[in-house]
Structures are given as C-alpha cells and as structure tokens.
Symmetry: C2
Subunit: 255 residues, 2 copies
Amino acid sequence: MNRGRLTVVGLGPGTPGWLTIEARETLARATDLVGYGPYLDLVQPVDQPRARHEFDNREEAQRARFALDLAREGRDVAVVSSGDPGVFAMATAVIEELERGDGAYDDVDVAIVPGVTAASAAAARVGAPLGHDFCCVSLSDVLKPWPVVEQRLEAVGAADFVVALYNPISRHRPWQLGRAFEILRCHRSPDVPVVFARAVTRADERVVVTTLGACDTVDADMSTVITVGSSTTRAFTDSAGRTWVYTPRRYPSAD
Amino acid sequence: MNRGRLTVVGLGPGTPGWLTIEARETLARATDLVGYGPYLDLVQPVDQPRARHEFDNREEAQRARFALDLAREGRDVAVVSSGDPGVFAMATAVIEELERGDGAYDDVDVAIVPGVTAASAAAARVGAPLGHDFCCVSLSDVLKPWPVVEQRLEAVGAADFVVALYNPISRHRPWQLGRAFEILRCHRSPDVPVVFARAVTRADERVVVTTLGACDTVDADMSTVITVGSSTTRAFTDSAGRTWVYTPRRYPSAD
C-alpha cells in the first residue's frame, strides 16, 4: 500500500491568481479533496478526476479526522482552507487530531502549504495598513470566552497595534463587533482609518475605507476582515479617486 | 506613451512553489525589476529580457521613488519584496512615496500582489502555532523607539497572544532579542514552545523548536522569524521524530 498523504492547502482569498504554485500542484495531484463546500467550489477544475468530500463549516475536528483516516488508507488527500490554513483555519484542527491520534497517523505524510491570509489580501487592496506592528484577533467567542477577547483588544488598543479582526460578526454573534469598536475607540482617535474588506478578489468583493469614528457594524459579515489602524496609520485619496491606507515604517519618537 | 505600472510583488519565503501565480506572471511581464539584490536572485529566470535594478536593503524610500519614476516613464515595473510586501516590507515604502509625490504619480497604475509572510511560512513548517490570536512585532529600533517595542511586548505578553518576532537581531542590534525573551518570560511558563525559522524553503533553511525557558539568541539571525507560543500552544513529537507545534482553536474558560 502507498504511504498516504494529507496536505492542508491554503487557497488564499479566492482568485486562482493568488493561489501559490505548490497549492495548485497539490490540488491537481490529490486523489481526494476535503473541505467546506464553498471553498471546494473555489478550487479550479482540473483534468484529473478526484473524490470530493464536503463538510459543514463548523465540523472542523470531524473533517480533520475524516481526512487523516482517508490518508491512512493510502490516499493523497488535500484539505482545503481559505486564506492561510495556519490562521484561524484547518491546519490547527489537523495537527490537533494528529496529536489526539497518539501515533495512529504516523504513517501519513502530513504537510501544510501556506497561503495569503485574509488580512494580507485586504491590505494589498488598499496599500499597506499592516506595514508596522499588527495583530490578528478572532472575534468568535464560540471556542474562547468573550472576556478573553475584550482583554486582548484592550491590550493591543492601548499598545497602539494595527488590529485585524477576523470572524467579526454572524447571525449568532451580532453585538461583539460593536463592542470591539467601543473598546478600540477608547484608545484611538476617531479619524483613525478602518478598512472593511469582504471577499477580496471574488466577484462579490467589497472594500470600504472609513474611520474608527464613522465605522458601522452593518458593513461587515462573516466574510469580512476589518483592519483598524494605529495612531500612525494614514489614508489619502489620489486624483483618480482611489483611497490608499498605509502605516508608515517610522514610528514617532516617544519624546 | 503607455501608462506606466508599478506592481509590488511578494516573493513569499523563497521557493518558487510558494510564489503566487499572479506574482510569477507579474515578474514574467515586467520590463524592469527593482529590489534588494538577494531577493532579485530568488526570482526565477524567465525568458523575457528585462532590466534589473539592485538596491541596498536599507534604501527603501529611495528604491520606491526610483521605481515610481521609472513607472511614470511608461515602464512596467515590479518591485520585489520577500514574504508579503505589506508586512514590514516594500508596499509601505511605495505608498508612502506615492503620497509624498502629491499627485506626481497619479498616471501610474499601482498594485500590490500579496505573498506568504515569513510567520505563515514558519508556521507551515511546524504545524499551526498561529492557530489562535497572534501578533507580528518587528524588533528593529532603527525606525521606532525601543521603549515602544518593550511596551508592546509587555502588552501582548500579558494578554497571552502568540508573538511572531520579525527582524530579531543584527550586528547593530545585538541585545534586543534577549530583552524581548526576558519580557515574555515574565508572562509565560518556561515550557511554552518557541520556533526559530530561518530561510524557510531555501537551501539554508533551519527550523528549531525549543522552549521559552531554553531559547537562546544565538539561534537567530536577520533571516529568522521567531514564534513564541501562548499559554495554550502545544508541542509534541511523532514516532518519526518530527516535532509539531500548534495553538488549539479552543481557549480554556476563564473560570
């Protein structure tokens, strides 16, 4: 029997152009694709027939075990993940199940092919808001207590990090994003630039540049990453009407 | 005259396989490549002849202006940047000069092609240390005062973020990394996993998994990204002797 493979593949934000070459090759080579349906739909059709295993977005552990079990049978399995699989995505679930398997999957070649994470994709669309120290925080309190989120936002708000908010809002988590803005407003001026970037590179892409004073949670959904600038982040509009946002490399002296 | 283009292209960590498809296409199409010499060397030879403009690593503003001026003459210019150009790299310098130009470059089509940043590349090699809230901090105090760095490390240390340290050490900045470890040790247990990842995917790649208690600044150089785990980050070794590091998606309840 062949030694099985499980590769966690980052799809980037969606367009095939922002997929890495190794990701494309891995998808073309795999015998089995495992993933959330809409992400599988993003994968370009390639000429080799392969099995497609769709899972609900919230069944991450089950999906990881399924993929590992399939690989143990000698299959060449690609677990697809949007963005970078290492950032709030499938790589963690797979490595978690690998450890939980306690040797059961030691015959499987596990690899991770990184991708362009949503914050980097959003940044590329508007300039360079992540040009200086930044952090990525998931606002989902499904797997972590909300007080931990608040404490973290307080900390990075006070320490003047650029903050990229992942999983900002959903039907079941309607108020958390508004609370996050409230916390950051205690530490930053209302004119600090804020970028809402939804479905970057896809047909339904929407990128909005606003300010911390004016931003509204209605502009966000589950597919949006929101980047809140630091005290030094700047926005300007060029003569073609395009608004750019960047965080300078130079930080003003404390004195 | 053709309308000029300036595209800031992220090369990812180095291997052509971890370049995006659009990055490769942009490099193949460009009439002029602008960048730090060793990064230009990473770009695969392609069959179209093009001009190559090498700059010293520290001349970022000058390099950005040179590239914008070249594009204004109608050239198709690619500014190459390792990793993701938006993360401590060339996109900021270009947008900064674009603003400073005050309309001088409005005839240039500026675009940014994102890439896999060093922290994502490092994470992919060992599992998923960035699987939960994390931050990226540059330890360089060339453009920001060192007290700002310390204050930020204190904040994210206390708030239990995974911390990726960029630009950790150089000949002119020999002690800052040791001080950063000291600060993080005040907030974390000595057995927290730490990953030193140098030149990932290149011939001289070196990835070391250690702990916050045992880590030593001698394992780092300018090409290293260091990832310091949070209180929940785990490490385990499989029967093949490979050590995996990941940060679980679930955060323990505060009570």
